[in-house]
Every structure is written in structure tokens, then in C-alpha cells.
């Protein structure tokens, strides 16, 4: 009866666990954070879903919008602002901090987070057109209150404080105005979504680095003209990362023209002892205008061998032709010196021990005296009378199986026996 009950309980637990495991297997990534992307991507323009891409001439203006999404289950307060691009270490893309003065593309963007004035809420004109209208109307002798309000609104803001409820998304319109004196070529920057710490959130304990997170959406504006697409190799090194026991191949390229250049770095590794290609690693990255990009490729540290490393960088030049830059070949020996040293030490120790024992045996033999074998004596008899093992006697005299002794034969025996 009791066993039956236990069996039923066991059944329930097993089936319930199986059911829960089945349900859990289908769960997706449960993190949905704060992020942004272009609100009006052009499906015909590659990367336009991730970046704002413009080719506006100097003096031009364009309206666009940033879509901000709060995928988290909590309300989020954030600050949105445009920022200049700034190089990160290794040539990575980063954006200036909010506290810094924007002098490039970050200063060309104006945000319009609030709705248009009521009188122009239904107006279909773009923000630049509407604001041009406001300028013209405001220049008249007695502008109306609506025009004055519109003109004020047209000033926009440099940064916007926004609160997003859980799973809410908003589009923040903005206008990019290209200065008349903007250089030909690419100008990069971005729109930044920076988390604002809630007032009710406890502050971090003092005495450390206080962290804030932010997400940036790139803006690339290329002023038409003589575009130069040129890439130069700047460095190629192979060095071990001792703490990680990895080998790091570092390839540096410089975008020497006036635009950023997408390129593919292919690292080839060959085993020169067995004459075979052991590994090929490919990385597609972007070198920013006028900046060096460092690509670090981690490889397993070979245990032993002679390997050659060479990188190839492929890109498309100004004329649209494919270009390939080859680095010099670096050859490296990999020898496990530590392991070899240990093996050598063990070998030396064994040899030393063997030599010592051999010397000891010879030393003993020098102290032994000759003995003439009598008729009927064998090795065991002679050894037992001297209180030693017959095998020691045989070894000391270099006797081989079957260890027969002849009468009159001279062997050495220990002194005093």
C-alpha cells in the first residue's frame, strides 16, 4: 500500500518535471533592453536599418527620425543627444560624451521631441520647409502669435529628456543641417540614448567607478565631391597573450582617404614543418576616415612547431576596383621550453643515478679479491658461503646464464669472506 503511494507520487513528480523541461526549452532570450534605430530605413540601401546614411551637399538640410524602443518591463528615463564621432582605442567607433563640446556632425543635428505647434499640427511640410516658412513669415512687419510660436519651436533642442513606459516606442524627429563649408567626404557621428538614473534608485557605494550605459546609432554624412578610398597597412605583429595562453595576431590599417572603408582581413596560418595550411581566419571590419583600425585576432597558442603567419586586407578603391594588401610573412617557432626542461631534468637525474650506482659497483669490485673455483662448486655455493646473493656475484663478475663455473676459473669475491 505504502509502496503503491510512493510510486504514484514518483510518477507525478517525473511527469511534471518532464513537462516543465519541455515548456522551458522553447523560451527565448528574455532580455529586451533600451535601444534605437533609424525610423525610416530604405530597404534598397544596405545598412540603413542600423545607420543613418546621407549624401547631402554642403548647405543642405534633411528631416529624419530616431525610433527609440524600451523593450524592458520597466519604465526608463533617458537623455537623447547627437554626438561627434571620436576614435576609441584600436580605431573603434565611439561617440563623444554628453559633457563634451560638439564641433562636427554632432553640432549639425537638432532634435524636435515635442509635437509641432497646434496651428501647424496637420501641416504636411517637412520641418525644414515649415521652419523656412516661419523665418519668412516672422520677417514680416507683424508676425502672428502662431508664427512666433512656430519660430520658437523651430529652434529645436540639443538634447531631449524622454521617459518611456514598458514596451513603449517613440520616434524623435530631427533635422541635420550640413554647413556651407563642410569638407568633401565622410563625416561621422551619432545619436545617443543615455540612461538617466532614476531618482529613487539607490546610488552606488562610493569609492569606485560609477557606471552609466548608453547606446549609439551611427550617422554617416558624405558630402559629394572627390571621394578618395585608400587603405594602407600600418602594422602586423604576432604576440602571445600570456595570461590567456592565446596567440594574438594584430593587423593595423589606416583609412587614408576621406571616407571610412569596409574591408576584409584574412589571416592565414601555415605549419611549415608539415607544409600545410593550418588555419584561415576572416574578419570584416570598417576603418574610420583618417584613423588606424587595429584588428586583434586570437588564435590558440601552438604547442610545438614552426608556423608562418600572413594577413591579406581586401577593399574596394576609389575606382570601384578590388584591392589586396599583403603583409610580410612572420615565421615563429613554438617550442615548449618548460616541458622540455622538465624532461631534460628527469633524464639527467636518471643518468646521474645510473652513473652513481655503476661507480658504486665498480668501487666495490676493486675491493674484492680473486678466488679460484674448486671442483664441484657452483655460484650459489660460493655466494651463500659469503653471505651474499648469487645474482650480485654473477653481476659483479659479468657472468651470463646459465652461470656455470669451471674448476680452476678465477672470479672475484668480497674481501673477508
Amino acid at each position: 500500500m505504502k509502496a503503491n503511494r510512493c510510486f504514484r507520487a514518483f510518477n507525478i513528480v517525473v511527469v511534471a518535471l518532464l513537462g516543465l523541461a519541455y515548456a522551458a526549452a522553447g523560451s527565448a532570450i528574455e532580455y529586451e533592453g533600451l535601444g534605437g534605430r533609424p525610423a525610416n530605413p530604405d530597404p534598397n540601401v544596405p545598412n540603413s536599418a542600423s545607420w543613418f546614411l546621407y549624401q547631402l551637399p554642403a548647405g543642405a538640410t534633411k528631416e529624419d527620425a530616431l525610433r527609440i524602443e524600451n523593450g524592458s518591463g520597466a519604465a526608463v528615463e533617458l537623455i537623447v543627444y547627437p554626438a561627434d564621432q571620436t576614435p576609441s582605442s584600436d580605431g573603434g567607433f565611439a561617440l563623444k560624451q554628453r559633457a563634451e563640446t560638439m564641433t562636427e556632425l554632432g553640432s549639425w543635428v537638432t532634435l524636435y521631441p515635442t509635437p509641432r505647434p497646434v496651428a501647424y499640427a496637420e501641416d504636411r511640410r517637412s520641418i525644414p520647409e515649415l521652419c523656412q516658412f516661419a523665418v519668412v513669415q516672422a520677417a514680416q512687419a507683424a508676425p502672428t502669435a502662431d508664427v512666433s510660436e512656430l519660430k520658437t519651436w523651430c529652434g529645436g533642442v540639443r538634447e531631449a529628456a524622454i521617459r518611456l513606459e514598458p514596451d513603449q516606442a517613440v520616434a524623435v524627429p530631427f533635422v541635420i543641417r550640413i554647413p556651407d563649408n563642410a569638407d568633401v567626404g565622410e563625416h561621422a557621428g551619432g545619436l545617443v540614448l543615455e540612461r538617466k538614473r532614476p531618482a529613487d534608485e539607490p546610488s552606488a557605494p562610493s569609492g569606485g567607478v560609477q557606471l552609466t550605459t548608453r547606446v549609439g546609432v551611427r550617422i554617416y554624412e558624405t558630402v559629394p565631391g572627390d571621394i578618395v578610398r585608400q587603405l594602407e597597412l600600418t602594422r602586423f605583429t604576432i604576440h602571445p597573450n600570456a595570461r590567456q595562453k592565446e596567440l594574438v595576431a594584430t593587423v593595423g590599417v589606416l583609412a587614408a582617404g576621406n571616407v571610412s572603408i569596409d574591408h576584409t582581413t584574412t589571416l592565414s596560418v601555415s605549419d611549415t614543418i608539415f607544409r600545410r595550411s593550418s588555419q584561415t581566419v576572416e574578419r570584416a571590419t570598417q576603418a574610420l576616415r583618417g584613423q588606424e583600425l587595429i584588428t586583434n585576432i586570437s588564435l590558440p597558442l601552438p604547442r610545438f612547431g614552426r608556423f608562418s603567419y600572413q594577413a591579406q586586407v581586401a577593399y574596394t578603391d576609389t575606382d570601384g576596383a578590388g584591392q589586396r594588401l599583403m603583409t610580410p610573412t612572420i615565421v615563429r617557432w613554438f617550442v615548449p621550453w618548460l616541458q622540455i626542461a622538465v624532461v631534460m631534468l628527469v633524464a639527467v637525474a636518471i643518468i646521474a643515478l645510473w652513473l652513481w650506482r655503476r661507480g658504486r659497483d665498480r668501487g666495490r669490485l676493486k675491493q674484492w679479491r680473486p678466488y679460484v673455483v674448486r671442483p664441484g662448486e657452483d655460484l650459489v655455493d660460493i655466494a651463500s658461503r659469503r653471505g651474499i646473493d648469487w645474482r650480485v656475484l654473477a653481476k659483479a663478475n659479468g657472468l651470463k646464464p646459465p652461470y656455470r663455473l669451471k674448476a680452476g676459473q678465477t672470479i672475484k669475491v668480497p674481501i673477508g669472506s
Binding site: 567607433f93 551619432g190 567607478v209
Partner: protein, 233 residues
């Protein structure tokens, strides 16, 4: 065993248990699965999410007021170095890319301003001055010495909740010191175009070291504000 449990177990047979659990599973999994029907067409659109960076705990919950605690130091007549670890089991550096950045992304760390300092109630010290190997004031705009070095290359990069994702094509940044006007931002991670378009990753164990000038007055509240950013490539 209570009378109720006893009665329940006695009344239930295995088939009934399977049926009940099956119903429970279907109900609990309804939010996850869409079942095909022979008479109706179900359509579902999954929108790409947004690239995000965050500091999360082991359960992928955003950590309120994240920070990096540095080792304690005592007053010294010579320049000294304190260390810290950026990214830990309870404060993972977390990047989530739900099909938002197909061309890769870059995560970087910077101070909230190039003129930021390790601020205390008393005297301060710098984070981006290489004067005297980071021990004395150099040619920057303030009159403070001190320099911070961040080494992402010694960190441990792992996939997050995504079972099918890999860390291939994501590169940890090199060990770099902040230097005002030259290195204002340090690359922590770079995801190449061939990295997973849908995935999430955790980075822990990034080494942070800070040179503190000699005879820096003792204080328990030296703070600096830093910003962790991610930008789609």
C-alpha cells in the same frame, strides 16, 4: 502525508496525471509556441529588437547603480597602483543584439568627460595623465596626476542566454591607458560583421588598474563616473 494529499494520490492514476500535466504545459507554453492548424492560417511577425548594452546580474536583470570597486590603498610616499575588475558574476557586461546590428557592433568605455577626475571630499587625482608614467601631473589641463589602464584582453567572453550563439568574430580590446586628448575611449569589444546577428554575450574579468600619485591624501570616497557605450557597426 495530509489527508487531502493522500486522497488525491489515491484517486489519481497515471493517465490522469499525464493528462493534467499536459494541459498545464500547453497553457504555460502558449506564449511561446504557435501551433499550426488545418483550418486556419496563423501569421506572426517578429520585429528586430534594438542593440543594447547593460550591466546585468546572473539572472539578466539590470543592476541598479552598477559600479567597479577598486582595491583599497593606504597612504604611501611613493606612487602606487590599485586594481579592480570590471565585469563580475553579479555585474556582467552584457550586450544583446536581437537582429538589430547585422554588421557588428563596438562596445567602449570612456569617462563621462575627458576632464573627469577621481573625486573625493578632499583632494582628487586624475585618470588620463601619463606624466611620470601616470604618477605625476603632465601636460593636460588639470594639475593632477594619475592614469587608468583598462585591459579587456584578459576578460572572459561568453555567450548569454542564446544557446546557438558563439563568441567567434568578437574581439576583446587591447590593454590601453587613458590619455587626455589622445585616448578618451577604450574599446572593450568589437563584433565583426560575421558575428551572430542574433545573440547575447557576457564579458567578465576585465582588468582595471589605476596609478595613484605619491602622497595622495587618504580618503574613503574617491569616485569617478564612466560610461559604457555600444554602437552598431
Amino acid at each position: 502525508m495530509s489527508k487531502f494529499t493522500h486522497a488525491l494520490l489515491w484517486k489519481l492514476n497515471l493517465r490522469a496525471v499525464i493528462a493534467i500535466v499536459g494541459i498545464l504545459v500547453l497553457v504555460s507554453g502558449a506564449g511561446t509556441y504557435v501551433y499550426a492548424s488545418s483550418t486556419s492560417n496563423f501569421q506572426q511577425t517578429i520585429n528586430a529588437g534594438s542593440l543594447a548594452i547593460d550591466i546585468v546580474d546572473g539572472s539578466y536583470v539590470t543592476v541598479g547603480s552598477p559600479s567597479v570597486t577598486m582595491s583599497t590603498a593606504t597612504f604611501s610616499f611613493t606612487c602606487q597602483t590599485i586594481t579592480g575588475t570590471f565585469g563580475s558574476a553579479s555585474q556582467n557586461i552584457y550586450v544583446s543584439n536581437p537582429d538589430a546590428a547585422d554588421n557588428g557592433w563596438t562596445a567602449s568605455l570612456a569617462a563621462s568627460a575627458t576632464t573627469a577626475i577621481w573625486d573625493s571630499a578632499g583632494t582628487d587625482y586624475d585618470f588620463n595623465d601619463n606624466g611620470g608614467s601616470g604618477c605625476t601631473d603632465g601636460a593636460d589641463t588639470d594639475t593632477l596626476g594619475g592614469q587608468m589602464t583598462v585591459d579587456p584582453s584578459v576578460g572572459t567572453l561568453a555567450t548569454g542566454q542564446c544557446n546557438s550563439c558563439v563568441t567567434t568574430n568578437i574581439t576583446k580590446g587591447s590593454s590601453t591607458a587613458f590619455l587626455e586628448g589622445t585616448t578618451n575611449s577604450i574599446t572593450v569589444l568589437t563584433a565583426a560583421a560575421a558575428s551572430n546577428d542574433i545573440g547575447d554575450w557576457k564579458l567578465t574579468g576585465v582588468s582595471v588598474s589605476q596609478k595613484i600619485p605619491e602622497e595622495q591624501p587618504a580618503a574613503s570616497d574617491y569616485d569617478i563616473n564612466m560610461v559604457l557605450s555600444v554602437v552598431a557597426s
